[in-house]
Amino acid sequence: MRVYSGILRSYGGVLLGLIVGFASSITLGSLSPAGLSGSLSSLLWVYTSPSPLIASILFMGPIALSAAGLSIAYRSGFITVGSEGQVIAGSAAALWLTAIMDLGLHPLQAFVLASVFSGSIGSLLGLLPAIMRIYLGASEILSSLMLNYVVLYIVNYLVSGPWRSGAFPVTKSVPEQYRLGYVDIILISLATSIALYIILSRSRLGLMVEVLGRSPRAAETYGLRPRLAIYYVSSISGFTAGVGGAVAVLSFQNSLTPMSIFPGYGYMGALVAWLSSNNPILTLPASWFFSTLLVYGGALQASGLSIGYVLAIQSIIVLSVILFRRITGGGVGYS
C-alpha cells in the first residue's frame, strides 16, 4: 500500500516536471508547439517501444547496483557518494580483465571473475573514506566526493595512455562473447537487491545498521560495534557499485574513452537510494525510472535539442518528483 502510493507519487512528480519543464520552455520561446508534440511523442516512444526499453534496462544496471548498496550505507548513517568513482573504477577493472588481458575464459567465468575483481576494487575505494572517518574524523561525504575525482583522472590516464588501442584515445572493446544482455542485467540487479534486503532484515549486520543509523549511542553502549558496521557497509556499497561498473562495461559501454565529466551512474544511484527510502527492493523500480529519463534525454538529443536543454528538462523532472512527494505527504526518502 505504502509502496504503491510512493510509486504513484513519483509518477505524479514526473508529470508535474514535464508540465513545468515544457510550459517554461514554450514561454521562454525555446520550444515551439511543434517541438513540444515531438518531445511528447518521444516520451511515449521511450515507454512503448522495445529498443528504448531494452536500453533503459541496460542503463539501469550500474544505477540499481550502486543504489542497492548505498541504501544499506545510508541506513547506517554512512553518507558516501563514492559510488560514482567506484562505478568508474569497476568499469576500468572489468575492461582490463576482459578486453586488455583477454585470458580466453568461459563467458560465465569471465563475468564472475570481473565482478569479483571490480567489486573488490570498489570495496577498497569504499573503505578509504570509512577509515578516514573513523581514525581522522573526516566527513565521508567530502572524502568520497574527492576520491571520485582521483579515480576519474587515474582512469582517464589509463584510457588515453597505456590502454589506448590506436590513433584515438579509446581502449579495445570487450569481446562479443563476454557481453551481457538485458536479461542478465535484470537477474543481476534483482539478485543483488534481494540479497541486500535479506541482509538488512535477517542478519546481525542488518540489525547493527538499523541501530547505528538511529541511535549511535545505543549501538555503542550495547556493543554493536559501530566501527565494524561502518567497515561492512562501506565495503558492501563499494562492492555493488564496482560490480555496477563491470556490468556497465560488459553490457553497453564495451570500451572506455577519456571522460571530461562524470558519467553520473553512481550519483544517480545515491539519488535513487534516497528517493526509495533506502529500501534495497524499491531501488529497482526507481533505478529503472531514472534510466528511462536517460534514454529519453538521448532521444531528445537525437531529435536535435541541445544537451544543455535536455539536462535542464531532466533536472526539472527530478526536482519535481522530490517536490511532489514532499507536498503529497510523507517524506522525500530517508524513512
Binding site: R202, G206, L207, R214, T221, Y222
Partner: protein, 500 residues
C-alpha cells in the same frame, strides 16, 4: 474566571490503533495552576502534547480565548504563548544553551527584545541553582541541568500557558521547591500553568485544581484545594485495590550475606567534558547479592561514572574489575558478554532505539551475543513475547514500534531485557525516573529480586529510592565519594553529605 483554553471531547488515537486520550474535556483558567495527575500511560503527556501542538487530536476541538483554534505544530502553539517542558529535555545538543534559546525565540516569533529575554532566562536559571554557563553545549549537560534549561525557557516562552511534564523528576528536593515557588509566581502574574505529575502530594501542594486522568480519560476534576487524599487515589487508580505498601512503594529488604566482590572499581579518574576530572579517585566494591546505591546531586560525576563502566568513556587512571577480571580496556561487547547489564538514564535513543520494533529492541542487547550471520527472529520474537508478558508491557504485538509505548512500559521493557541475559552485575542510572508509584515499585522489585543472584550499582538522584532498596549507599559529590553509609540509614546525614 475566564477560560484561557478549553478542550472539548479531544481524542487521540495513534496510527498503531492505541487510544491514548479519549473524549477529554477540560478548561484551563487564567492565572491558575492546574495539575494533571495520573499513572504512567494515563494519557497526561499526550493530552499536553495536543495543547502544545505536537500531537494533532483525532477528534475534538480546542478553544483559546473562546475562539476555535487548530494547533497543528509546535510553532502554532509557541506563537500563541504556549510552551511545554517535555519530560525528557529536548535541546539542540550541538548548540550552546544560549544559542538554543535564541533559536527557540526566533521560531516562536518572539517580538520582545532578545536581550531582555536572555536576562530573564539567565535569572531563572540562577534561581533554579544552575551551576553551568549559558555558553555550555547542551549535549554536555546532565539531565537535571537540561531540565533547568527547559524550565527557564518555559518561563520566557510560555507567555500565556506554561506546561511542565514531570518537571521534578530530574531535580533535587530543594530545586523542586524553587520550581514550586516559580510556578506559583507565574500564576500570580496572570499566567496559566499545567503541571503534570504522578505524585499525589506534589499535585496537592502546587495546584489550584487537579484534573485526574485514568486510561486516557479525565477521571475527575478536583475543583478546590484541600481535597481528600483517598478520593484522589480512587480516581487515579480506579477500583484496583491499593494498599499502603503499594502507594508508599515499600520493597521488603532481605538480609543476604553478600558473597565475593563481582564489581570492583579501583582509584578511578575520569576526564570530564570541560577539562579536569569529573570522577576523582573513586574506589568501590560490590559483592554478589548486594545493591550499592550512589546518591548525589545531578552533575557530580555520576554520568561519567556510568559511561566509564559501560565502556563509552576511557578512564585516565584506575581499573574496573568484573568478576575478578580487569575489563578497564575491554570493549562494550566484551563487557556485556562477561555479564554486565546496563540501564541508561535516557530510555529512548540510548536504552531503546526509536523507530525499531519491540522485538528488534530486545535483539539489540541479547542477539548480538549469539553466533552466526543470521538472526533467528522467531526465537527473538519468543523472547520478546516472554519479556512483554512477564513484566506486563502493554503492547499489541512485538512488531509494534517501541516509540508508542508509554514511559513506564519502555522502562519495564528495558530493565527486563537487561535482566533476561542473566548478568553478574547491573549498572542502572535513575532507573525509575519519571515513573508513577506502581511502575517505579515494579521496576525496583525487578532489580531487587534479581540482585539476589548478582550485584547491582544504582546511581540515582532519588534518595528515598536508594534508602528503600540499597544495602549500602555511597554519596558522590564533585567526583569523589564523600561517604559510605550502611543500614539503617540516616536520611538527614546522607542528605547533608550530598551538599557538603
Amino acid at each position: 474566571m475566564e477560560a484561557l483554553l478549553e478542550l472539548k471531547g479531544v481524542s487521540v488515537i495513534y496510527p498503531s490503533g492505541v487510544t491514548a486520550v479519549s473524549d477529554a474535556s477540560l478548561k484551563i483558567y487564567r492565572g491558575e495552576v492546574l495539575a494533571l495527575l495520573g499513572e504512567n500511560g494515563a494519557g497526561k503527556t499526550t493530552l499536553a502534547k495536543v495543547i502544545s501542538g505536537v500531537v494533532r487530536p483525532s477528534s475534538g476541538e480546542i478553544y483559546i480565548d473562546g475562539a476555535r483554534r487548530r494547533l497543528s505544530s509546535y510553532r502554532d502553539a509557541v506563537g500563541l504563548g504556549i510552551y511545554m517542558v517535555p519530560q525528557t529535555p529536548q535541546l539542540f545538543g550541538n548548540l550552546s544553551v544560549l544559542e538554543d534559546l535564541r533559536l527557540s525565540l526566533k521560531l516562536s516569533g518572539y517580538r520582545g527584545v532578545f536581550r531582555n529575554a536572555i536576562e530573564g532566562f539567565a535569572g531563572a536559571l540562577r534561581r533554579l541553582g544552575a551551576g553551568f554557563s549559558i555558553e555550555s553545549r547542551c549535549s554536555s549537560l546532565s539531565m537535571g541541568e537540561r531540565q533547568k534549561v527547559e524550565i527557564a525557557k518555559a518561563i520566557i516562552l510560555g507567555r500565556r500557558l506554561a506546561i511542565f511534564d514531570e518537571p521534578s523528576v530530574h531535580l533535587t528536593p530543594s530545586e523542586s521547591r524553587s520550581l514550586g515557588e516559580i510556578v506559583r509566581e507565574l500564576a500570580r502574574s496572570g499566567r496559566s500553568v499545567i503541571y503534570i505529575t504522578h505524585k499525589i502530594s506534589e499535585a496537592m501542594d502546587i495546584a489550584d485544581r487537579i484534573a485526574i486522568m485514568r486510561g486516557g480519560r479525565i477521571a475527575g476534576i478536583i475543583e478546590e484545594r484541600g481535597a481528600d487524599f483517598d478520593t484522589i487515589v480512587r480516581l487515579m487508580f480506579g477500583d484496583k485495590p491499593i494498599n499502603d505498601s503499594q502507594t508508599r512503594g515499600f520493597v521488603e529488604h532481605s538480609e543476604i550475606d553478600p558473597g565475593g566482590s563481582v564489581l570492583e572499581i579501583r582509584d578511578l579518574w575520569v576526564p570530564g567534558n570541560h577539562g579536569g576530572y569529573s570522577v576523582r579517585g573513586v574506589s568501590l566494591s560490590i559483592r554478589a547479592g548486594e545493591i550499592l546505591g550512589i546518591a548525589g546531586i545531578a552533575g557530580n560525576g555520576q554520568r561519567e561514572l556510568f559511561e566509564v563502566l559501560s565502556g563509552l568513556r576511557k578512564p585516565a587512571r584506575g581499573s574496573i574489575i568484573l568478576d575478578g577480571e580487569d575489563i578497564t580496556n575491554k570493549g562494550q561487547d566484551y563487557r556485556i558478554r562477561r555479564g554486565l547489564s546496563l540501564v541508561p538514564e535516557e530510555r529512548l535513543d540510548w536504552g531503546l532505539v526509536p523507530g525499531l520494533s519491540i522485538a528488534m529492541n530486545i535483539a539489540i542487547s541479547i542477539e548480538p551475543r549469539s553466533r552466526g550471520f543470521f538472526i533467528d527472529w522467531r526465537s527473538v520474537d519468543m523472547i520478546a513475547l516472554e519479556i512483554i508478558n512477564s513484566v506486563g508491557v502493554k503492547a499489541r504485538s512485538t512488531r509494534d514500534p517501541v516509540d508508542i509505548l508509554s514511559g513506564g512500559n519502555m522502562q519495564k521493557l528495558m530493565v527486563a531485557r537487561e535482566l533476561y541475559r542473566g548478568p553478574r552485575v547491573i549498572v542502572a542510572m535513575n532507573p525509575t525516573g519519571g515513573l508513577d508509584i506502581a511502575t517505579a515499585r515494579f521496576v525496583r522489585r525487578l532489580i531487587t529480586d534479581y540482585s539476589r543472584k548478582a550485584g547491582a550499582l544504582i546511581i540515582s538522584e532519588d534518595l528515598d529510592e536508594l534508602i528503600e532498596i540499597c544495602d549500602r549507599i555511597a554519596v558522590m559529590s564533585r567526583g569523589s565519594i564523600r561517604g559510605l553509609f550502611t543500614r539503617p540509614f540516616d536520611y538527614d546525614e546522607i542528605a547533608r553529605s550530598m551538599i557538603s
